[in-house]
Symmetry: D3
């Protein structure tokens, strides 16, 4: 059996980054963890049309993985297809955004989100409302960075630190969430720079998936 992590965009480098981010957990997982790229996805999920558009192929890929699936992780911070995949699956289905929020709620009282750009924030707020946890949000601020710019470590870390401190000092955040799958390499630096716990969504979701796979033992024993 396997925890299947599906990156719903078609960029293999993103999948590789996710794989690197969650790799340290492999030794502590009761089952293997496999990362997949959705070939039919767009290079990056940037619009609501992208979010809705990947659901069909995502369901198809998940279905093909069903025989050995212990759990699924949908690895895009918009949690595309999460409800649909849950309808179709008997095993746990985790979204990286939902998992990040639920983990952050156990780490602090109000979380701050660092989003790449302004465009996704409206979508995040809708989702936080759907989850009924708006009172746990400190603020969701844009970094003003494109996905490609994330590769430039110095500027990215400087900007993450600046916005992280604003979330902490002006908005009362006591835990931070990096609102994108590609920021995992900066997580620990950001923790040190701000003194706050920082949640990487992919790590949060795989961690939750491991817990859920363990929990599933209670259904059969």
């Amino acid at each position: 059996m396997t925890i299947h992590v599906i990156n719903p965009n078609s960029t293999q480098q993103v999948t590789d980054g996710i794989d690197a981010a969650i790799a340290p957990m492999r030794d502590r997982s009761p089952v293997p963890i496999a990362c997949h790229t959705l070939a039919e996805g767009p290079p990056g999920i940037e619009t609501q049309a992208h979010v809705d558009g990947v659901v069909g192929p995502l369901l198809t890929l998940a279905d093909s993985l069903k025989p050995d699936a212990s759990a699924y992780v949908v690895a895009c911070f918009s949690d595309p297809g999460l409800a649909a995949l849950r309808e179709a699956s008997r095993v746990p289905v985790l979204g990286i955004a939902e998992s990040a929020y639920l983990l952050a709620m156990a780490l602090g009282q109000r979380f701050g989100i660092l989003s790449l750009g302004r465009a996704s924030i409206q979508r995040h707020i809708r989702y936080l409302g759907a989850l009924g946890i708006m009172d746990r949000l400190a603020a969701d601020l844009p970094l003003g960075l494109g996905v490609l710019e994330l590769a430039e470590a110095d500027t990215t870390l400087a900007r993450l630190t600046e916005v992280g401190k604003t979330l902490r000092d002006h908005h009362g955040a006591d835990v931070l969430i990096t609102g994108c799958a590609g920021m995992a390499p900066y997580r620990r630096h950001l923790e040190q720079a701000t003194g706050l716990p920082v949640v990487d969504p992919c790590q949060a979701a795989v961690s939750a998936a491991i817990g859920r796979v363990a929990l599933a033992a209670c259904d059969t024993n």
Copy 2:
């Protein structure tokens, strides 16, 4: 120019019902109102996979109607593709669920929803949360009826009345929403039986679209 109402399921009879429900407004609309059936949709939208699955063809159909579109109405109570179509359009895009909620908020303090079955309620609650209006919900109760059963007028009206009175008397609703495009023929009977205003979502959305088409005059004059 035209208000385009798109029924995202493929059942022409449903589209015909919507057309009949909104027909009385045609004389009071500044532009024609055309109702369309989404040929690629499922016969009925019953699952989250259906909701997500129609977005692609819905966007395509809407795009083909763009040259004379004054406004779009997405005529399914799950408002599939609403955010995506708004991203893609410069003209007003109305969802029948959102429109029903916003209208009900001007008609009473707490609305009750009459849903066909239990399965859709979880989806409605997520949406009400995303809209930030959970405090305006009295309750969302299932009728326990299938779409086909709606055709039997006596049983349907009896059940609508029973659940409507429960919403009024036990949950404090002072306005009701029929949570499905197919209940318009019963709206006025339900108003008489309960003494409460009853919102038909398609009528609400077309009414809002008419208002928005009028409003658009302020952008150009």
Copy 3:
């Protein structure tokens, strides 16, 4: 039949401004739109005592207009007498604040309000709470302008732009509402300056009234 817009203050110039703001919609309305000044009102509605004080004469004026009233619009951003007039009327009654909020909720996820001065904000917040939509508010900020100063176009537009950008950049607003009947002439400039949709409350309410007059056809046909 007529949509009657009632300015509950006694300043004819304000009524003239409202008339100009909604004039472009006349061609798209199924019925005429008439604007009225409440002679018994104060020159401007600035205090809670003003809000409560105009209700009596407002009800009297509305009653005198009843024979040909298709709908009423109460054209003050405190929505004075809205609940009372609804009790007394069988036709739709729209408040410009409520209408602005409900329209903004379909245009963005969090609205920012530009209020003349600090004094009215407490009243707005109470009202947003009564409407159950506090989670949709980005912020309500004072312009620090008096009604008379609105006439100076350059300073007003500069201040609107500055506060509008603060609402967008620091508070996450993705739609703006001008919290006063007299700012309509600046609406489109503010849209261009901020890149956000801007709602003029009087236009929002008349637009909603047109939709409601259309909807009323479903009650009689």
Copy 4:
């Protein structure tokens, strides 16, 4: 100096009932407590037009009492004119509804309201929303009694007990509020019948006024 309690309806018997309800507190008040009837008010405040209509004469009466006013209590469960009177006064102004809610919040986690009829509940909910305390409401249920029927002790107490137990057992209330000035004589019976603390709004407000008069000593000493 005096705590002035103003019954904004014109029925002296109601004022007498309020006076009797708060009489036991006189010995423990630092200043006298005087109850007044608003001659210009309607016999009972039943509609929103009544609520708005009494504000003008209420302000006038309060102004005439200003020379020796330590505090004002507005003794109608719709808190008419509360915000306006606060604007006009330098001394504490208490509303009986707000005071009842704030007291109930210190006595239990979720309060149940026993309202005379259905008509006032919509108004209460708007107010609870404005106060931002909807999550503290268990439910607001109608007794289905008219003001005159309150005089029949046996039926009234039976109905209060029945609805009180419903609030406790079906809605999770752990404290009750009698939503009308005329139910004070039944308060202690209702406490015994339900085992829950019961708040009489007039007693709550006068109690709060006594506390506020004491507090005012901190401003001058």
Copy 5:
């Protein structure tokens, strides 16, 4: 290293029940799981004084376990000492109530809680408010059972089923939580009887602890 589960009451049988409930997860945990009884605790935690009273000895016991602690689980549905233990620990600290809520939020939209008696519900509601998740609560209903009565399987299961169905049918719950450590043996029966997922709080918390122990690998690798 070890996951330490601390039952803060002094009844060894309760600890044994918890151990049995979580035993199936041992094979899937990266570290051993040890269950402890707090000798200084009361036989059962029934009052707020009990909740507050166990914090001191709980901190002492946790401190003594620190050398090999990978994570702590506080195994009482009032989560006593959770915030204090988090302050004092560098490793993850899980409360069974918080963990149950966070898990339930990934399993359904609104959870129902089955509590032993009415007394604890007020405490639960305060806690749900502190967690900011009141909108995810369907209802919290008392079983009217004492801890000892839980041993009688037939009556307990009958009562659980009855209240579970009420939560599902009258309150809209789509996931259930057993609000007490001692109901784990009935979890799967209740799932079958209601058709809803049922969360046992101890299982939820140990599952989360396993996930968090895995996640901690990302801090050191």
Copy 6:
């Protein structure tokens, strides 16, 4: 009979400061007011372990005062032991934080809190959530001062004024709460500097206790 105010830390100077703050109310109280120091408490209550740790000795002290207790006031802004003491007492029990919040809710629409340091804010937010009044919070900002630094009047007042103005101008506060028992001497200066009402929590709680002692007369007469 007596209102017993218990300072749950062991610093007599703090108790003396509380006594001085509430002294002006003694002449207007129906019963004497006595201030007590909890010898078993820590010098200051700074951590959650402190909060939980004082509950036991607090209950013991309160029990020893029971014979002549009219009411208890727990005089620490974390309201330690409030729920436990309420369980154990038949007379009113007031917490200074809860009392400050409830008073502030009658003085303005959104309150700002001035906290000594960042550490307590997370605790405050949890509590505001438990009270269900998050929508009434403007913001809770740290002064960045230690308890000892409060003695330096010039710097303290300068910092209070600066943060108070930020709460007013950037967060929309229309009433302020000093989030610590030791700031009473600065209350009136802060009112003058900001133009907003300022609530001292100890004064708020003793004021409420006086009102509750008066109210108790309605139970016995």
